[in-house]
């Protein structure tokens, strides 16, 4: 498998299945680890960075759990390809900058990815469709344990796993769940969710769109506390809150269908009409419309498309994906045109 296979394959986390996939888009669990004998990436010179990269690559080559993975050296790929990997959530924006001595391992189906020499020497993640916290943890825990048998991690008995940023110290664990919460957003209840969540050692932010503003009603809830609680406790706490949030969203959806049916239908079908008919469309508008159509699908109002097509659009609408599928660089305006074309092709709105 090489980089080009990746381009042609689908990301598993966009399959649109898995537990609670009507509301939960995906679950991501990541661990941050560093090698004891080298300075952290940001403080290391090029020689040290190189040693870390080569050491980790050689250890990964010998690991059974990591066969069938692709190794990408970030400096060897084009800027669009880097952006493409960021859009697929396989690596961070930060990893696409200062690219010397940076590596990325991607597993089959893109469920597993490991950034080498990001802020920490190792950032490994499992990304899955639907609500799958404990399964994702099991996989990443097993990989971490097996790597820990051959690598000496930076670790102290008092502080746990030592990371470049103190916000990750301890477990090095960050679990995030991406949720689609249109009913809570529409009814202004999302503010209450924000309030409640910040009191529970968790954080919530918008997932797509610029800055922290949530566009398209997609929200990401993750743990903020990484030290002083065990991994299982951190994940349980997150799962509990997610389950409550889902119940609240469901309840509000029922309320909308019960009391505001006409208005809800109107919004959904107008959005569907625009999405199918647009000839020029920005990514911001696309996300907003996709959110409404997804809700229509969940509520049984729309039945002639499937969730996989919507997820495909959600990924293919991004700049690097549009440019790769058109095999050329596109200006912002050209992208808006190609985006509209791609959407009509996917959900059959004619030429």
């Amino acid at each position: 498998m090489d980089f080009n296979d990746l381009v042609n394959r689908k990301s598993e986390w966009l399959r649109g299945d898995g537990p609670r996939s009507d509301i939960v888009m995906s679950t991501r669990v990541r661990l941050a680890r560093n090698l004891d004998e080298y300075p952290f990436f940001g403080w290391a010179d090029n020689e040290h960075r190189k040693k870390v990269l080569e050491k980790l690559i050689s250890v990964f080559n010998d690991n059974e759990l990591l066969k069938d993975t692709v190794l990408i050296r970030i400096k060897d790929i084009s800027e669009i390809d880097r952006e493409f990997l960021v859009e697929r959530h396989l690596m961070s924006q930060e990893h696409a900058m200062d690219v010397q001595q940076k590596g990325l391992i991607v597993g089959d189906g893109e469920k597993l990815s490991i950034m080498i020499n990001e802020e920490d020497h190792l950032r490994m993640q499992i990304l899955q469709s639907g609500l799958n916290i404990s399964e994702a943890w099991k996989i990443i825990d097993a990989l971490d344990t097996s790597l820990g048998e051959v690598l000496t991690y930076a670790y102290s008995n008092r502080f746990g796993y030592l990371t470049a940023c103190p916000t990750n110290t301890g477990t090095g664990l960050r679990a995030s769940v991406m949720l689609h919460l249109p009913a809570l957003a529409m009814t202004g209840q999302i503010e209450k969710v924000y309030e409640a969540i910040s009191k529970l050692g968790l954080t919530i932010r918008g997932f797509y769109g610029e800055g922290s503003e949530a566009s398209g009603n997609f929200f990401q809830i993750s743990n903020q506390v990484a030290l002083g609680h065990s991994e299982v406790d951190i994940l349980d706490n997150l799962e509990r809150v997610i389950t409550k949030t889902i119940a609240r969203e469901e309840h509000t959806r029922d309320y909308l269908m019960d009391k505001k049916k006409r208005e809800t239908q109107d919004g959904i079908f107008r959005s569907y009409g625009t999405l199918k008919s647009a000839r020029i469309i920005t990514s911001r508008e696309t996300i907003k419309l996709l959110s409404a159509v997804r809700l229509g699908l969940n509520l049984g109002l729309i039945s002639d498309i499937d969730v996989v097509s919507l997820n495909d659009i959600l990924l293919l609408m991004h700049p690097a994906h549009l440019q790769k599928s058109n095999s050329k660089q596109l200006s912002s305006h050209e992208r808006d045109i190609k985006r509209a074309d791609m959407i009509r092709k996917k959900i059959g709105g004619g030429n």
């Binding site: 403080w43 930076a154 502080f159 030592l162 916000t167 110290t169 050692g201 002083g228």
Partner: protein, 176 residues
């Protein structure tokens, strides 16, 4: 759930968030400390000042100014100073956590509400540290017994040291 950032004892009831140049600063205070701080706050420009004001009571300031010469403000392993860390926001290496232990435990308590790891343990690190400490304690014990001429007790301790040494040897050979 979160403890007060000032007293570290009572539960935080007042949560302040300030955004300056896209940087978000958060402060969690219990009612009592919030009351005490409110007068101070009025004389400050903002939360950032309040926080650096709070830091005056913490070990940072002491480490920079009041501690006797030769005390650690620089990480012996990577050369990062604590003020460099404050500027840069990220630590230089794992050993920084030892070098800046006092300052960092305050900071970690502010971030996580705790400064003690209770989760998964790294195989190598987790084993090596307590065993070395144990060994050190046992050697001291051994010396005390020998000095007191309590040879029977000393023999027991000697055997325990031997046992521990063999265990560490085994672990090293197995690559743990």
């Amino acid at each position: 759930m979160k403890k007060c950032d000032v007293c570290g004892i009572r539960e935080a009831a007042v949560h302040l968030t300030e955004v300056v140049n896209d940087k978000v600063t958060k402060l969690h205070l219990c009612e009592q400390c919030a009351k005490e701080k409110s007068e101070e706050m009025q004389s400050h420009f903002g939360l950032t000042d309040l926080i650096s004001g709070l830091m005056d009571f913490g070990p940072q300031q002491m480490a920079e100014e009041e501690l006797p010469r030769g005390s650690v403000t620089t990480c012996g392993s990577c050369g990062m100073t604590y003020s460099e860390f404050q500027k840069y926001g990220k630590l230089g290496c794992g050993k920084c956590y030892e070098a800046f232990e006092d300052q960092l435990s305050v900071l970690l308590r502010n971030i996580h509400g705790s400064d003690r790891h209770v989760g998964k343990m790294a195989f190598k690190g987790a084993c090596a540290m307590p065993e070395q400490e144990k060994m050190k304690a046992l050697r001291e014990e051994l010396e005390t017994f020998i000095r007191a001429e309590e040879f029977e007790k000393a023999a027991v301790v000697r055997d325990r040291i031997k046992e521990l040494e063999e265990k560490v040897d085994r672990q090293e050979k197995n690559g743990f």
